[in-house]
């Protein structure tokens, strides 16, 4: 990498008032033809390009992004990373990602601020207790760290939680994954972009895909707002807009796109040093390094591409937050936003080739894609380069909706939307 970041480069640039830092990636115009084109410059798309170049030596590739990189769901999520999924297929997928997260800042020479502060999932009724205990056992059989905490241990781990038995949904215990945590979402997109660019990948922003050119059962290229780009392989990583791209190629996906909301409060001093999620009352909260509470709400029940969401969803979440954390009752919320998430009927992603040769989809991450970013990119790159899935994403093929072999994480995951 030509401009390696280090303590020395930081000191050197400090002497020149930080005015001589170089651009982290180029701003090229599209070439006429690439070996592969990735549609969507979010974390997953940029990671895909990075691993295609790094592990599969495919360097004549481009990432086309309709807006700026990392401006979609990569910049709109609550940055939680965990791998405590119930089923073997999901556990394999998400823990693969978590293992890459653990060395990612070094791999990218870019600080993604990965912080293993732990993720705690609360139980509020007997069924929750049974489900979550079962999940800790399943996690441990899959080599994923998980412990069950009783109510006192929950209180000790996060003292601001209201563990009174008198609240509407009392805390009966919880699970804790200590290796889980958060990362800086923008840094993930920027780090992958910088790494991919250094290996020759063209990252083309403000370039919207308008059509997929097909020749019978194979692809020939993409029509974009910056002209036609010829390619034999197209990897679509368009999150909430996956169906829009699929409709261009005349195929249907089992997806519905819905707004998922999040909000942040005014910044305060450190008060919560972990991530706490609650499935039953649907509230999760952590604190950013700037001091804001980062709060995740739920999805709306209807299909919508407006990045807004309904007020009653936010209201429901904040009610739950206030019952669990009475200490937050005077805090002001600063910002609220929505991201469009593409949800599969079985709440599991699709990382798959399609019946059209050269057309690949990485979609359906629904409400929880950020945590998978490095693993998703790695496995999708493998799938595109070899035209075959890796064994870790073989179960996440598109044909499972025909065969019935679903990866049913609905309700089994730590938080259901």
């Amino acid at each position: 990498m030509k401009n390696k970041y280090s303590i020395f480069s930081l000191i050197k640039n400090a002497f020149t008032d930080h005015e001589n830092w170089q651009r982290a990636w180029r701003d090229p115009l599209p070439k006429k033809e690439y070996d592969a084109v990735i549609v969507g410059g979010g974390g997953h798309g940029l990671a895909t390009a990075f691993y295609l170049a790094k592990k599969h030596n495919m360097k004549n590739i481009a990432v086309v992004e309709k807006s700026w990189i990392g401006g979609g769901n990569t910049g709109r999520n609550t940055t939680i990373i965990r791998s405590n999924y119930l089923w073997d297929a999901s556990a394999g997928l998400y823990d693969h990602a978590l293992k890459i997260w653990e060395g990612l800042s070094q791999e990218l020479n870019y600080n993604v601020m990965f912080s293993q502060r732990g993720v705690m999932n609360l139980a509020h009724n007997l069924q929750d207790v049974r489900d979550l205990k079962r999940r800790t056992h399943a996690n441990r059989l899959n080599g994923i760290d998980a412990v069950w905490l009783n109510t006192q241990e929950v209180k000790k781990f996060c003292p601001i939680i209201n563990t009174s038995p008198d609240i509407r949904y009392p805390v009966l215990g919880g699970t804790l994954q200590r290796r889980a945590g958060t990362a800086r979402h923008d840094a993930v997109a920027w780090g992958y972009a910088r790494g991919a660019d250094a290996m020759g990948v063209d990252i083309i922003q403000n370039c919207e895909v308008k059509g997929i050119k097909r020749n019978g059962d194979s692809v020939e290229g993409v029509e974009t707002t910056k002209g036609f780009i010829k390619t034999k392989k197209i990897g679509v990583v368009a999150a909430g807009h996956s169906s829009v791209i699929a409709n261009m190629a005349d195929i249907k996906l089992p997806l519905e796109s819905k707004p998922l909301q999040a909000l942040v409060s005014e910044p305060v001093k450190p008060i919560i040093d972990t991530v706490v999620m609650s499935n039953a009352v649907h509230a999760y909260v952590s604190q950013s390094d700037k001091g804001e509470l980062v709060i995740g709400a739920g999805t709306d029940s209807y299909v919508s591409y407006t990045q807004r969401g309904s007020h009653d969803v936010v209201e429901g979440t904040l009610k739950a937050i206030l019952e669990l954390y009475p200490i937050f009752s005077r805090m002001k919320m600063l910002r609220q936003w929505g991201g469009i998430v593409d949800i599969c009927p079985d709440a599991s992603p699709i990382i798959s080739k399609t019946h059209i040769k050269g057309l690949y989809f990485n979609c359906g991450w629904g409400t929880g894609g950020f945590k998978a970013t490095p693993g998703s990119g790695d496995l999708f790159a493998h799938t595109i380069a070899n035209d075959e899935p890796h064994k870790l994403n073989a179960d996440f093929n598109i044909n499972r909706f025909v065969s019935g072999d679903l990866v049913d994480e609905h309700g089994a995951a730590a938080v259901a939307h």
Binding site: S243, L253, S301, Y302, V303, F401, G404
Partner: protein, 91 residues
């Protein structure tokens, strides 16, 4: 967040309603004769349109009746509401 004009109750807040997804997906008449592909198409595959879409809605916290709606998913604007069994008023 928007208001919905229920064909039975009139204008109410969207939070009273439940969305039932894409409309006019006809239940197969001969389920035993369907192939796996046709079942997948019926059960799972959706157009998920960004733009004008035909949808089913239920007034869950009201009359509890189902009805159809023409709505633009890119801006949440409702173009028309019509009863079950009726043809969509506009395309």
């Amino acid at each position: 967040m928007f208001l919905i004009n229920c064909p039975y109750c009139g204008e109410r807040d969207q939070s009273e309603f439940t969305a039932g997804g894409e409309a006019h997906i006809v239940r197969p008449k001969q389920p035993t004769e369907l192939s796996d592909d046709q079942w997948a198409e019926f059960l799972f595959m959706r157009k998920n349109i960004k733009g004008v879409q035909l949808e089913r809605w239920n007034h869950a916290h009201g009359c509890r009746k189902w009805f159809n709606m023409v709505r633009d998913t890119s801006n949440d604007k409702i173009h028309a509401v019509y009863k079950m069994g009726e043809k969509p008023p506009i395309k």
